[in-house]
């Protein structure tokens, strides 16, 4: 692989929160580059800005200053609608708290991103129905037989696997996981990490936040943050 294509490229990314009279500098200029097919762990002390960074990379939030190129496109110049489209099609986000919709079945939760796609716009690239594709994604995480269950009828590890299936279903360029094992015991967390490692082996690009060195060791390499900066 000569000069691999970057999926993520940030230049002097900053994020400042205004809290009354004082400013909280959550990010103080982050230059990050992650290539296609990478499996990267992001570590750092609590409050060092990891989640803030993930939200910016996931197009869920906008930086105060700096540039963010996702697959070469400058996200800062995009409208809210175009950013929603990126979240929908190019990014799969896995949360620490799963964030499944309690009233939907596992299958419907997984299918949710596909429902927000303009039907037929992709032409023949979209042959299967959302539910069929959702079932394939649930199979991929080993939960096909739980398709009709609601989140409350599933264990923590199963919920996180449903959430990962939801992140996968749209075939994104990038999977972002913010402490995906943070709410799970170590053996369940291990299952989740094995699943993520498999996804990497299939060629997916993953960025994962963790406090657990053992978890980080499963990634190809680890980035460290401290006080809003990326350590060299």
């Amino acid at each position: 692989m000569n000069d691999p294509r970057p999926v993520i490229e940030t230049q002097k990314l900053t994020k400042t929160y205004r809290m009354g009279a004082t400013d909280v500098f959550a990010l103080r200029g982050v230059d990050m580059r992650i290539n296609a097919g990478d499996f990267v762990a992001l570590m750092g002390a609590s409050g060092s800005g990891k989640s803030t960074m993930m939200h910016l990379l996931g197009c869920l939030d906008t930086p105060t200053t700096g540039r963010y190129l996702l697959e070469g496109r400058d996200v800062g110049s995009l409208s809210a609608q175009e950013r929603a489209r990126l979240r929908n099609q190019r990014i799969g986000f896995v949360f620490q708290t799963f964030n499944l919709l309690p009233r939907l079945t596992a299958l419907d939760n997984v299918a949710l991103p596909l429902l927000y796609r303009a039907a037929g716009k992709q032409g023949n690239a979209e042959p299967a129905s959302p539910r069929k594709r959702a079932l394939v994604a649930l199979e991929r995480v080993g939960l096909a037989e739980r398709a009709g269950h609601r989140p409350t009828q599933l264990s923590g590890g199963q919920r996180q696997r449903v959430a990962i299936a939801r992140a996968l279903v749209g075939d994104p360029a990038l999977i972002l996981a913010d402490e995906p094992t943070g709410n799970l015991d170590s053996s369940t967390g291990g299952d989740i990490m094995r699943l993520l490692a498999e996804l990497h082996a299939e060629g997916r690009t993953l960025l994962l936040v963790t406090h657990d060195r053992a978890v980080a060791d499963q990634a190809e390499y680890t980035l460290h943050m401290r006080d809003g900066r990326l350590l060299p």
Partner: protein
């Protein structure tokens, strides 16, 4: 997101809060029911007029005399409306192309040994057609809804021709029972009967008739009748000049008021009517159109309608704010859900659509119940408005539209609030 999916999402949102949504729908229900009742009142008044004045076409003006009641007897207020008044009308009023006149009197009708005291009617050649168009009577046993023809209305012979009416021919047409009473089963056609000592030849017998309205059948006597040409009746059957009823046909329905002015001018000249001290004409006649009657009826319904409309508006606004409240609570309760949906790619318009549709479904459900309540309340509205209220079929789509509009207008603010949520804040919401 496809419409079906939006619908499914919205429906499940409503189902989650059945009691609360039911209560807030109350305003919409009352509002929509009032809309239905209001329109039923207007429609009832219109239908009543249509029914009782069916014979008065919308291109016709009825000219009648004014009467004052003195000592319990009606006395003409001025000059009588005469046959001459009617005859000269077509020439004097350019917008009038034809008049029909009717005159009524009582007399003794004799044939052979039999003498009957009865009311006779002087009519025009078109009277039979008018009677059919009026639709109050039909040949006995006539199948409901079947088209009536003048042939079906005649048992024997024929009705008057225009030339017979113009010439004042000594001819007559008998009602079914009158013919039976006078001729005891013999064929009356070509025979001579005597009315007030004047001879006239029977040229036709009307078929045996019954009123269309079954309740009227015991009272009405449509088969006791004696018709003559109006000219014949006026010229030879009265000692004093009789008063006539005139129906004037206007050439242009759009110019009814102008036609009325022309008729009034003609009659004022002929009757020598003057203006009173206040500049008003002291007319001894009255001009009536279908629109006039409708106006009077609708005025009566209007006061009540205004009240109902006010009730409709107030309840719809109350219901609207109820929906707004439910939706605001729903948006707050589902903040995290909105965050999740945004995180997986819902655009602002997707969120707006979801909550707007939810509000619309709420109000539409209220609207449907309201329509039912409205229809059931029509008898009540009728009892408060002299029995005049009739469901207007067009009011159902109108009511649904009103309900839908209420839901969308009052659902807009909560929906926009949901769409303006920040994804991160929404995801963090507890």
């Amino acid at each position: 997101m496809t419409f079906l999916n939006v619908l499914r999402t919205a429906l499940s949102g409503i189902a989650a809060n059945k009691l609360r949504t039911g209560l807030t729908m109350l305003g919409i229900i009352i509002g929509v029911a009032s809309v239905i009742a209001t329109l039923a009142l207007g429609n009832g008044a219109r239908a009543a007029v249509e029914n009782s004045f069916r014979f008065l076409g919308s291109d016709q003006i009825q000219v009648s005399g004014q009467f004052a009641v003195e000592d319990g007897e009606p006395k003409p207020a001025g000059k009588l409306l005469s046959y001459e008044d009617g005859l000269t009308l077509t020439d004097a009023a350019p917008l009038i192309d034809r008049v029909e006149m009717t005159v009524r009197g009582s007399g003794k009708v004799r044939h052979g040994q039999t003498t009957l005291d009865m009311t006779f009617t002087g009519v025009d050649a078109g009277a039979l057609t008018s009677m059919i168009a009026d639709g109050k009577v039909q040949p006995v046993g006539w199948p409901a809804g079947a088209l009536l023809t003048s042939e079906a209305f005649l048992a024997r012979g024929r009705f008057f021709s225009h030339s017979e009416v113009a010439a004042g021919a000594q001819v007559c047409v008998l009602g079914y029972r009158t013919a039976d009473d006078l001729f005891l089963g013999d064929d009356p056609i070509g025979q001579t009967v005597w009315i007030n000592r004047k001879p006239c030849e029977v040229i036709g017998v009307i078929a045996e008739l019954e009123t269309v309205d079954e309740q009227e059948r015991t009272r009405a006597k449509p088969n006791d009748a004696f018709y003559l040409p109006v000219s014949t009746a006026v010229q030879s059957l009265f000692e004093n000049e009789p008063w006539v009823e005139i129906t004037a046909h206007v050439t242009d329905e759009a110019r009814m008021d102008e036609a009325k002015t022309q008729i009034a001018a003609h009659l004022r000249t002929r009757h020598g009517i003057e203006q009173g001290s206040d500049g008003k004409w002291l007319d001894d006649f009255r001009l009536t159109t279908k629109k006039d009657i409708l106006g009077v009826q609708q005025d009566a319904a209007r006061t009540f309608s205004v009240l109902l409309t006010a009730l409709a508006v107030v309840s719809l606004v109350v219901g609207g704010f109820g929906i707004m409240n439910v939706m605001l609570v729903s948006v707050t309760e589902r903040t995290r859900e909105i965050g999740v949906r945004m995180a997986v790619g819902a655009r602002q318009q997707d969120v707006v659509l979801q909550f707007l549709l939810e509000a619309a479904l709420l109000s539409l459900a209220g609207g449907l119940v309201g329509i039912l309540v409205g229809i059931l309340s029509i008898p009540l509205a009728a009892s408060l408005n002299a029995g005049l209220a009739l469901l207007d079929p067009a009011s159902i789509p109108v009511a649904l539209l009103v309900a839908l509009a209420t839901g969308i207008i009052f659902g807009l603010y909560p929906a926009l609030r949901a769409a303006r949520l920040d994804p991160i804040e929404a995801l963090r919401y507890e």
